[in-house]
């Protein structure tokens, strides 16, 4: 039976178990003189029954679905004769796709070696068996669970306690998903990164100045090994992020200052949501704007004043990214400025300082740590931003500080290296994971640092 049908079936069984247990608890209570003689309300007996029925079955189902593919694949591969045993991962996926095509009937068994054809029918068999076993096992677990809960509907058993404990555990597991996600991220990048450093030396990666990851098909081709120096990517990312921050920090900060210190309530109420609109625009839209409007405009402008500009200049990507981060900087600074105690402000104004002097000499220094934290968060967002640079920055890894030239970034390379590639065994795709690792570590450090600064600063005034 398909997983798609099994899932609603299990849910239906759980509902059934609920109904049955509910009726039974009432039936048990009736001779005693009503449900007040039960330890728990009928609802709890029923809920426990449906938990017992559904939960273990769903866990079994999830585990089965998660691992059946891998197990079947392993069985099929190990059934192959030794001369067909795949030597590399590329070969393995080729043979596997042949086998699965035979099994799916897309490939005529006549056109492949008989062993493959055999493996194809084995695969088909195993899949069918797996489907049957899965259905039987899952339904068995569901029914057994329900039966157990049914047998434990008795007036002296406290069902509420066990339902509440189970629910609390489920809630805990949900909260732990965040931790699991982090663990998943770390593991998914770390293994591939270690494999990558088995092929390319760590120092070449970190300090190499040339980036051309396109590995050739044959070992004897020119540039067959590619070069993986991340310095150009790193400088490219820094250049674009620096341009973005140069736009976003002054504009965001000044508009936050104006809105919190000068603007009337009405202006604040209209301008603030308008600024937040900028944050709600998807990055792909900014990318479109950067690539098709801003970049040609900058190129034409540069040509008009006699400069040479690439049509994928770092400036275009940086400017648009800056616009994207403005609301981020302004809302964070707004929070920080508002958190500065009013008596500092009043004190300064009472001494005869103007509003701008109060701002510059009293509030700004007091808010500086918080603002720095906000800028760090904005920087981490700029470094990790993908779509704008994928669409508007180039692919060529130029080592330059000229904003009119095209540069590439870490995120652009991750996307370019991974889109369309199926294999995880070439240095090229593994390099993407190594870059992802770098990106994760850098943004994580920036975030931790920023959060620490912001928290420390908040404690100061709270």
């Amino acid at each position: 039976m398909q997983t798609g049908n099994l899932l609603p079936l299990v849910l239906a069984l759980a509902v059934l178990a609920y109904g049955l247990a509910y009726m039974r608890s009432r039936a048990v209570a009736a001779p005693l003189g009503g449900i007040r003689h039960l330890k728990s309300l009928p609802f709890y007996y029923a809920a426990r029954a449906s938990l017992w029925c559904g939960l273990p079955a769903l866990i079994v189902l999830a585990l089965w679905v998660a691992f059946e593919g891998k197990v079947i694949q392993g069985l099929v591969v190990s059934s192959l004769p030794s001369d067909l045993m795949p030597e590399s991962e590329g070969q393995a996926s080729l043979i596997l796709s042949q086998i699965s095509n035979v099994a799916a009937g897309k490939l005529d068994p006549q056109f492949v070696p008989p062993e493959i054809a055999q493996a194809g029918s084995l695969l088909e068999n195993l899949r069918n068996q797996s489907q049957t076993f899965k259905a039987v096992l899952v339904l068995l677990v569901a029914v057994l669970g329900a039966a157990f809960a049914w047998s434990r509907v008795a007036p002296n058993i406290n069902a509420r306690e066990s339902v509440e404990t189970t629910l609390r555990r489920i809630f805990f597991v949900c909260a732990a998903v965040a931790v699991l996600t982090t663990v998943g991220i770390v593991f998914s990048v770390i293994f591939e990164t270690i494999r990558f450093f088995g092929m390319v030396s760590f120092w070449d990666f970190v300090f190499g100045t040339s980036w051309s990851p396109q590995t050739a098909l044959r070992a004897d081709q020119v540039g067959a090994d590619g070069s993986f120096g991340m310095i150009p990517l790193f400088t490219g990312t820094l250049l674009i992020s620096a341009i973005a921050l140069l736009v976003a920090v002054p504009v965001g900060l000044l508009s936050a200052i104006y809105l919190s210190e000068y603007a009337s309530k009405r202006i604040r109420a209209t301008v603030k949501p308008a600024l937040e609109l900028l944050a709600g625009v998807p990055t792909v839209v900014y990318g479109f704007f950067a690539a098709l409007t801003v970049a040609p405009f900058i190129r034409d402008l540069a040509e008009a004043i006699g400069l040479e500009a690439s049509s994928q200049s770092a400036l275009a990507a940086g400017l648009v990214m800056g616009i994207m981060i403005i609301p981020f900087v302004s809302s964070l600074s707004d929070d920080v400025i508002n958190a500065v105690p009013q008596n500092l402000r009043d004190g300064s104004l009472a001494m005869g300082a103007t509003q701008s002097e109060t701002m510059k000499n009293v509030i700004f220094p007091a808010a500086l740590p918080g603002i720095m934290g906000g800028i760090l968060l904005a920087a981490s967002r700029a470094i990790g931003e993908t779509m704008i640079v994928v669409m508007a920055a180039g692919l060529a890894a130029n080592l330059t500080a000229n904003p009119l030239e095209s540069v590439t970034t870490v995120t652009v390379q991750i996307v370019t290296l991974l889109v369309g590639d199926q294999e995880f065994d070439s240095a090229k795709t593994l390099a993407a994971f190594a870059l992802g690792m770098m990106l994760f570590v850098v943004t994580l450090l920036l975030n931790v640092l920023a959060l620490k600064i912001v928290r420390k600063y908040r404690e100061q005034y709270d």
Partner: protein, 425 residues
């Protein structure tokens, strides 16, 4: 002490300068706001000016004579004959009737390239469904060829290059005067999937793909997020583990979205062997990505429920779980829903992680399930924006307008929900 040196005088003299500084500072603030808002305006104006033509299609309406001799088709019920017949010829004939000067072979070739590539298929399908129409004359409306469409819509826009011959341009002008070539609302955009040709391409496939993905995201992220928030706010003991979970959630909220794409690629596709390019995997990845947003806003909503409610419930003997499920969660629900809608809006606009899990393939068919290959609306926009064919730019902008409409509707809904349902204590 003379007047010149008295502090009051010094202050008075410096006042002018200080007020000037004050005004300048205020002007900087206004300038910053003007810059930010005009960036927003320019962005929207640019998208709309590029994209409104995406909602217009160019049509050619002709009286087509379904002449069996012209098409080399005797029996439309015979599939073999149907596959061999020439359905372009009747269209060319019909055009020639309107353009008497276009009679030679070159002209015929050029005329054939004025209707869209699917036009002959329309005639074939018509005859397949109703063979009795063979030999009659039908008034049919075809989509114009991409190049004709570009000329009709963008003749005086220098961003587009006209790829028609002089002769064709003359004909198009003539046919437009006769009302044969006309423009109409582009219903193709909303009724089909992607195509290699801009005139035949639509966003329906991408919209359905996005919806399927969002359903998965919502079904996973909302219950898990709410449950996690409830645990952290109501049940979690103050210990290292809880602190660790909290730090994790805060950090996840700031992890670049592309990293979640790497996670999806390595774990869901690599480890669990799930298929590429499917809404199920896309939804899972986006669910993990939006989870911190939902948890953080749900916690805020739970925090805003006053302790008196909890105390009252506990006072009449409710268990902790009953207090939470019967009172706190229902009261916090509007806030949780608002946060979730905002999280969903974020997920709808997200592109980068979907690129990595393969939702960028060229997919013509509208997906029908969670395991069909699909793309998503923002990814479709990305694909079109980076496409070489010039007609795709207006489609990408039109797609952006549709995407932004969805996003603003969702955000407006969130604001409305908050205003309507949220109780101030």
């Amino acid at each position: 002490m003379t007047d010149q040196t008295s502090p009051a005088e010094l202050v008075r003299r410096s006042l002018k300068r200080r007020y000037r500084k004050e005004r300048r500072f205020r002007a900087y603030g206004i300038l910053a706001i003007v810059i930010a808002l005009s960036a927003l305006l320019v962005l929207f104006a640019d998208i709309i000016s590029k994209g409104y033509t995406g909602f217009i299609k160019t049509t050619i309406t002709l009286d087509v004579t379904l002449d069996p001799e012209v098409m080399y088709l005797e029996d439309p019920t015979d599939p073999d004959e149907l596959s061999m017949a020439d359905f372009t010829a009747p269209i060319v004939r019909a055009l020639q009737e309107e353009l008497p000067d276009a009679q030679d072979k070159t002209a015929e070739r050029e005329l054939a390239r004025m209707v869209g590539t699917y036009a002959p298929n329309r005639i074939r399908d018509l005859l397949k469904d109703s063979p009795e129409l063979l030999g009659t004359t039908q008034t049919m409306t075809f989509l114009a060829h991409d190049r004709v469409s570009v000329y009709v819509k963008h003749a005086d826009n220098d961003m587009y290059s006209i790829r028609l011959s002089e002769q064709q341009i003359e004909w198009v002008d003539q046919l437009r005067e006769q009302g044969i070539i006309d423009t109409a609302f582009n219903d193709v955009l909303f009724s089909t999937g992607d195509s290699r040709e801009p005139t035949n391409a639509g966003i329906l496939g991408a919209i359905v793909g996005s919806l399927l993905t969002l359903v998965v995201t919502l079904v996973i992220a909302f219950p898990v997020g709410v449950a996690a928030a409830v645990y952290l706010e109501e049940f979690a003991p103050r210990n290292r583990l809880t602190d660790f979970i909290e730090v994790n959630i805060n950090n996840l909220a700031a992890v670049p979205s592309i990293i979640f794409g790497l996670l999806g690629l390595a774990v869901f596709i690599g480890l669990f062997g799930m298929p590429r390019s499917v809404p199920l995997v896309g939804g899972l990845v986006l669910a993990l990505m939006t989870l911190p947003t939902i948890i953080i806003s749900s916690r805020a909503a739970i925090k805003s429920v006053p302790p008196s409610i909890r105390e009252a419930a506990e006072g009449i003997g409710a268990s902790k779980m009953q207090v939470v499920l019967h009172h706190v969660v229902p009261l916090a629900m509007p806030g949780m829903m608002t946060g979730s809608i905002i999280g969903m809006a974020q997920a709808l606009g997200e592109t980068a992680p979907l690129l990595l899990i393969g939702m960028v393939a060229f997919i013509v068919d509208v997906p029908e399930g969670f395991l069909d290959s699909a793309t998503a609306l923002p990814v479709q926009i990305y694909l079109w924006a980076s496409s070489a064919e010039q007609g795709f730019i207006e489609l990408a902008s039109a797609g952006i307008m549709v995407l932004l409409t969805f996003l603003f509707t969702m955000n407006a809904l969130a604001i409305w929900l908050r205003k309507r349902l949220e109780r101030r204590w």
